[in-house]
């Protein structure tokens, strides 16, 4: 596939700032019946923003950003000035017909008298019933203001809030809310049919979710994936680093299989995914019926294998391939994934349109890392976040006439022009056994690490390391969360942390390249202005292509690849569809 070698840069299509910081549970999204996706991000002080793309009257695509505040009307609380902290948020359609939206928010509330840390607080969950009487594209902000609210008092601190769709034994569709708490339990709320309110139902929880019965710690992340009509795969990660994977028979409600693995630090995200991307062929493409069926069968075959991605706070992210067949034995470490501070979130997405999913990881070090499964050693082509001169527009003057001839000035240049020797060292960095060493070196997180890689490359290794560490200290970007309101001038940086030469100081030739392929390799990085707290992908623009949504501590980014490049790719792929005869 030519596309696999194609470099697609993802750049900001839109960004909207948050009034205050958010947390890892602060992003949710909802997609309406006709494909309109709306994002909702909350900041912990109660503000929330919604973002959606709509067409303006003159047929332009415009990003609509709205901001409002929960509890603004103080319907339930009164203007007591209580300290509020939003913990998690979730939003989903109540029914299959996608009409009424349910928005659930968990938060902590404490009296303003004592300092926040010292005093007792009460935890609540508010459920907003947003009626959709004004049509499918209801303005969420207005709807929240006018919605009915159900307040649930919680006796534990809420953590992850999510919803799950299940079929009851009476063959009814039902969506229930799942909330994990610091009481080492997972609470399931189901909607009361007559009242419409959500009530915790322990009986139902034990019946339908046998994997939640015995949870060994505070659940920080969980993921439920329906495999087929009879099975569900559930992964539960707890604060201690334990991840338990269950294969649940959802007809008999029995746990069929159970796996466990232990990380050394709190689990920050879990993904259950298949390696190959599938997309059904549209019905109207009859011309390639045979190819389609072939494709579908292949896709189905590929789909059977489920991979499990676990990211934890300190350890490198780990992928267990094909967990159903090979248990947790096929383990791939994402090299250097722990080099940029705590890994906070992850997302599975095909960012280069080659039919294979890449793993995106967001870190507190303000970096997004994209990993790709490489079957064999290939020339390194790490991309960085540097925006680039789009090669498509009409060239003007002397520059940008030809992009390949005039590469962007920054690291893209460096990484693209790696000599074979450098590549070898890059490969070395992937050896799993050097995890701890990698952690040590990478943790310097030097943004200027690669500023002059070609000059430093063959210098004395120890001095280089010193330099790296020193630069890393001065350029460290982590800021205290508490100090967000004040604008703190940040250190100089403009290099995406490129980690390929971290092992440069190792004596050359003393260690053979032991990387076993296939393995996951860092493919693309992008730096953000703030720690990356959440990642998701959806078709925001309603064009069939998935857009990447990145929640940072202070804002929400929607990223798009260069559409001219994608259009080229699309044209290439449309050609055989249009001319089935000269296919192949």
């Amino acid at each position: 596939m030519t596309s696999s070698s194609k470099q697609l840069y993802w750049t900001d299509a839109h960004f909207c700032g948050l009034r205050s910081q958010t947390n890892v549970y602060g992003l949710t999204k909802i997609t309406s019946q006709d494909g309109l996706t709306r994002l909702l991000a909350v900041s912990i002080d109660g503000h929330f923003i919604t973002v959606e793309y709509q067409k303006s009257f003159d047929n332009r695509l415009i990003p609509i950003t709205r901001e409002d505040e929960f509890f603004m009307a103080n319907v339930l609380h009164g203007p007591d000035g209580a300290d509020l902290e939003i913990v998690s948020v979730d939003m989903f359609y109540q029914d299959e017909d996608k009409k009424d939206i349910i928005l659930a928010v968990t938060y902590l509330k404490s009296s303003p008298a004592a300092p926040f840390e010292d005093k007792p607080y009460n935890a609540y969950m508010n459920v907003y019933f947003l009626s959709d009487q004004e049509g499918p594209h209801v303005n969420l902000i207005d709807a929240v203001a006018m919605s009915e609210i159900q307040q649930v008092m919680l006796v534990y601190s809420p953590l992850k809030l999510m919803h799950h769709h299940l079929k009851t034994d009476t063959d009814q569709d039902e969506t229930c809310l799942i909330l994990s708490g610091n009481d080492s339990k997972v609470h399931v709320f189901r909607q009361n049919k007559s009242m419409g309110t959500f009530i915790e139902d322990p009986v139902m929880a034990t019946q339908y979710f046998p994997e939640f019965i015995d949870v060994n710690g505070c659940v920080t992340q969980m993921e439920l994936k329906k495999l087929d009509s009879g099975h569900r795969l559930t992964a539960i990660g707890v604060q201690s680093g334990l991840v338990t994977l269950f294969l649940v028979n959802i007809v008999s409600h029995q746990i069929e299989k159970k796996w466990e693995t232990d990380m050394d630090s709190p689990i920050t995200s879990i993904q259950l995914f298949s390696h190959h991307v599938t997309s059904p062929c549209p019905e109207f493409l009859h011309v390639i019926d045979d190819a389609r069926s072939e494709n579908v069968s292949r896709a189905e075959a590929a789909d059977k294998s489920i991979n499990l991605l676990i990211t934890s706070a300190i350890d490198p992210a780990v992928v267990f391939c094909d967990v159903l067949e090979s248990d947790l034995t096929k383990r791939h470490v994402l090299p250097l994934s722990n080099g940029q501070d705590v890994v906070l979130c992850s997302c599975i997405m095909d960012i280069d349109f080659d039919g294979e999913n890449e793993i995106l990881i967001g870190t507190y070090g303000q970096v997004l890392l994209a990993y790709k499964l490489m079957m064999e050693r290939t020339p390194g082509m790490l991309m960085t976040s540097t925006p680039f001169q789009s090669p498509k527009p009409v060239p003007v003057g002397g520059y940008s006439a030809d992009l390949p001839a005039v590469p962007p000035p920054l690291p893209a240049n460096d990484s693209e022009e790696k000599s074979p020797a450098e590549q070898v060292t890059h490969d070395k960095s992937d050896r799993r056994r050097h995890k701890s060493l990698a952690g040590t070196i990478d943790s310097n997180g030097s943004p200027s690490q690669l500023e002059k890689p070609n000059h430093n490359r063959f210098h004395d290794s120890s001095s280089l390391l010193d330099g790296h560490l020193k630069e890393g200290q001065t350029a460290r970007l982590v800021r205290s969360q508490e100090n967000l309101a004040a604008v703190s001038p940040r250190s100089v940086y403009f290099q995406t942390p490129e980690t390929s030469d971290s092992f440069e100081f190792l004596p050359h030739g003393s260690l053979p390249d032991l990387t076993e392929y296939p393995s996951y390799r860092l493919k693309w990085t992008k730096r953000f202005s703030d720690p990356v707290m959440g990642l998701t992908c959806d078709d925001m623009m309603r064009d069939g292509m998935l857009d990447l949504v990145v929640l940072t501590l202070k804002g929400l980014h929607i990223l798009q690849p260069d559409l001219n490049e994608v259009a080229d790719l699309l044209l290439d792929r449309l050609k055989p569809l249009c001319n089935p005869t000269n296919k192949d």
């Binding site: 596939m1 750049t11 900001d12 839109h14 909207c16 700032g17 793309y53 332009r60 695509l61 415009i62 990003p63 950003t65 709205r66 901001e67 991307v277 599938t278 997309s279 059904p280 062929c281 549209p282 109207f284 494709n295 896709a299 349109f353 039919g355 303000q366 540097t386 925006p387 001169q389 789009s390 527009p393 009409v394 003007v396 520059y399 005039v406 962007p408 000035p409 920054l410 200027s448 604008v487 001038p489 940086y493 403009f494 730096r527 202005s529 078709d539 309603r542 064009d543 069939g544 292509m545 559409l563 994608v566 790719l569 699309l570 044209l571 792929r573 449309l574 050609k575 569809l577 249009c578």
Partner: protein, 689 residues
């Protein structure tokens, strides 16, 4: 953060990569430029603070690459090929009027930078040239304003004057000096000066005026032909001829009125008046006469610049001489102003009163009249002090002034008496003028001091002749078109819509509108297209205009104070970039699509341009100076596009894509199907092939 909720439909982006450099002191936008100062093809950032400290930042280093310090309050910095051909130099202007030139070598002293003890010497630049020019410089623009392939220095002053200077090389030496080319007096405060290109790709000098208005300054065409060696011959040769002296008189008038600028759109007005009152035949006479003065104008100009050349012949032209000459020039200018003022009074004001009470056209152009009277007052005020302060040491010049003043006032007086209405302030000047006239015109002390020739005497006589001639003209009902050719054209533009007519305004011109088509780039080189210009006001209006018609305007809730142009997308069309005090930065393209960036701090100064991190590759760049001694350079802010768009739109613009959809029997507006198709192509298909 403000209390308002952030509801918007504007696209916003976030730029991440930036270089933070430390630079102390107050920085103003005029003293921050991104240019290639060391002629290595890569742009540097040159920043100066009002204390006169200048730093040059190069590449990704957080430390200054070169430094310089000048005394005085630095107000403007510019980089251009001002005194050396094909070599950029740094020009610094202080509020006190000192102009310093720096040549920055790119590599010569590079090794000395590393040496610590030489740090101060190696990095500290010394000016290669300094000259004292009129004080109160506020904004500066280096551009070739008259198409002579030489860069002129146009400086706007806080006393509403614009002066254009040119570097004049001293013969037989490697130095030179700046000579005043032309001076314009404006009615309103100057926001910024810029160069725009009209349909013929001729440069227009634009100066922003309060209330989202601007003026274009006409450059005397004569200066395009000046040759320093020919003026004397021509002057002498023509001195005896009565006819040529008459010509000269006319051209002098032309110089005095066109050259030294009005603060009013009198030209337009004048046309109205003439069109309303005089017969077409008169216009024809005017146009017939038009050709005469053009040739002789250069003579007079060289006559007025006589003192310069006198000095030029002296190899060691010292500053005192420079000063003297510039003072003389200034004073001469003042004469011109005075002329003008009286002209204005005598013609611009009286005539409508007398001749055009029924002229509806005049009434319709009320704004111009307001402006005119305003400018009249300005000029009264402005021209008076230099006359009085006009050099106790140079009484002769003062006297000359009075004489010329008188000469013209006489004409005005004649006019006013002719039309039977005396302007309020005229009697005094009339008296002066009469005195001046009574005095011996032929013995102007200036002649003695410079022993040049009788040109000044001629001019005095000519003034008289001219004024008489003008009276005749008036009586005849005919005007010499060139005499009233305005040197300042006022463009009200969006003034009517403005909420605040006095809000300060900045302008940027020469906004490249891109190639009309991809093909035939060579053709386009030959026929470049006219450029757009943009204005921004402090109260939040942003306007893109072309040829006095507004293409779009935008009202935002921020104090817009810095305006520039930059091709952010790399498509050849330059976007308008505008920054507000609170850091909100707007990038707007020609079709009014907006993308914003919120810089997270208050902005003291902003500039955009190209900056090179390495190897002379210049990337679009924003620079923000904050109030806490930090400057942030965003070295690569390239965006793929300004507008929000999706794949459907991009593919819809590609003919091939549309053809394919047709082949697949998908209607172009069947978005659902197209969406499915695209999704399938992007995510479903690959494994198959």
């Amino acid at each position: 953060m403000a209390d308002y909720l952030n509801n918007t439909i504007m696209r916003t982006v976030s730029f991440v990569e930036r270089i933070e450099v430390e630079f102390h002191g107050n920085v103003i936008s005029q003293a921050m430029v991104l240019e290639d100062v060391d002629n290595d093809l890569g742009n540097e950032l040159i920043v100066g603070n009002i204390d006169g400290e200048i730093s040059i930042f190069k590449g990704d280093s957080p430390h200054a690459w070169r430094k310089a310090a000048i005394s005085g309050m630095l107000t403007c910095l510019a980089v251009g090929k001002i005194h050396l051909p094909k070599k950029n130099s740094l020009v610094c202007m202080t509020a006190e009027g000192w102009c310093h030139l720096f040549d920055v070598p790119s590599q010569a002293s590079a090794q000395s930078i590393s040496a610590t003890e030489e740090d101060t010497d190696g990095r500290l630049l010394k000016p290669v040239f300094s000259q004292e020019l009129p004080a109160n410089a506020k904004v500066m623009c280096l551009a070739d304003i008259d198409c002579d392939d030489h860069i002129e220095m146009v400086i706007g002053y806080s006393d509403r004057v614009v002066r254009a200077f040119r570097w004049h090389e001293t013969p037989n030496s490697d130095t030179g000096q700046f000579l005043l080319l032309q001076k314009w007096q404006l009615a309103g405060q100057i926001g910024s000066i810029t160069i725009n290109y009209d349909r013929d790709y001729q440069p227009e000098l634009m100066v922003s005026q309060p209330g989202a208005t601007f003026v274009t300054l006409q450059v005397k065409p004569a200066f395009r032909h000046i040759k320093s060696d020919s003026y004397l011959d021509r002057l002498c040769g023509s001195g005896t001829n009565v006819k040529s002296s008459l010509e000269r008189s006319e051209s002098f008038a032309a110089v005095s009125s066109t050259g030294k600028g009005f603060g009013s759109p009198r030209g337009n007005d004048q046309k109205h008046v003439r069109g309303a009152i005089f017969s077409p035949q008169d216009q024809r006479t005017a146009s017939l006469r038009k050709s005469e003065p053009v040739a002789s104008k250069s003579d007079i100009l060289s006559g007025s610049s006589i003192s310069k050349h006198m000095e030029d012949s002296v190899p060691d032209a010292s500053f005192s001489l420079d000063q003297l000459s510039s003072q003389i020039e200034q004073d001469l200018n003042t004469c011109g102003e005075t002329f003008k003022m009286v002209d204005l009074y005598g013609l611009g004001k009286d005539k409508p009163a007398v001749l055009g009470p029924g002229s509806s056209e005049l009434a319709s152009s009320s704004f111009t009249r307001v402006c005119r009277s305003e400018s009249f007052c300005d000029q009264m005020e402005n021209s008076a002090p230099p006359c009085i302060a006009g050099d106790t040491g140079n009484a002769d010049i003062a006297q000359t002034e009075t004489e010329s003043f008188g000469g013209d006032t006489n004409s005005a007086a004649a006019i006013s008496s002719g039309v039977g209405m005396a302007p309020p302030r005229l009697p005094l000047s009339l008296k002066t003028s009469l005195e001046g006239l009574d005095g011996d015109l032929g013995q102007g002390p200036l002649h003695r001091s410079y022993t040049s020739d009788s040109s000044l005497r001629d001019s005095h006589e000519n003034v008289l002749e001219r004024s008489l001639g003008r009276i005749n003209n008036i009586l005849d009902g005919s005007f010499d078109d060139d005499v009233f050719k305005p040197s300042i054209i006022y463009h009200p533009l969006a003034q009517v819509q403005m909420r605040n007519k006095d809000t300060s305004t900045v302008i940027v011109g020469g906004i490249n509108r891109g190639r009309p088509s991809q093909s035939g780039s060579g053709e386009d080189e030959i026929n470049p297209r006219a450029t757009y210009y943009a204005l921004a006001t402090l109260d939040g209006s942003l306007i893109l205009a072309e040829n006095d018609s507004i293409l779009w305007s935008l009202q935002v809730d921020h104090y817009l104070f810095a305006l520039s142009k930059l091709d952010v997308t790399g498509n050849g069309k330059e976007e308008v970039v505008c920054c507000s005090w609170n850091g909100q930065t707007y990038i707007v393209n020609h079709s009014k699509e907006i993308v914003r960036y919120q810089f997270p701090d208050s902005v003291a100064a902003f500039c955009s341009g190209y900056f090179s991190l390495q190897d002379g590759y210049n990337a679009p760049c924003f620079v923000y100076a904050t109030f806490n001694n930090r400057i942030y350079i965003y070295p690569n802010i390239t965006l793929p596009r300004v507008e929000s768009t999706n794949l459907l739109k991009v593919m819809g613009r590609i003919q091939e894509g549309r053809d394919m959809l047709r082949k697949l029997n998908i209607a172009e507006d069947d978005y659902d199907s197209i969406r499915c198709l695209y999704r399938y192509c992007l995510y479903g298909q690959p494994g198959k092939r």
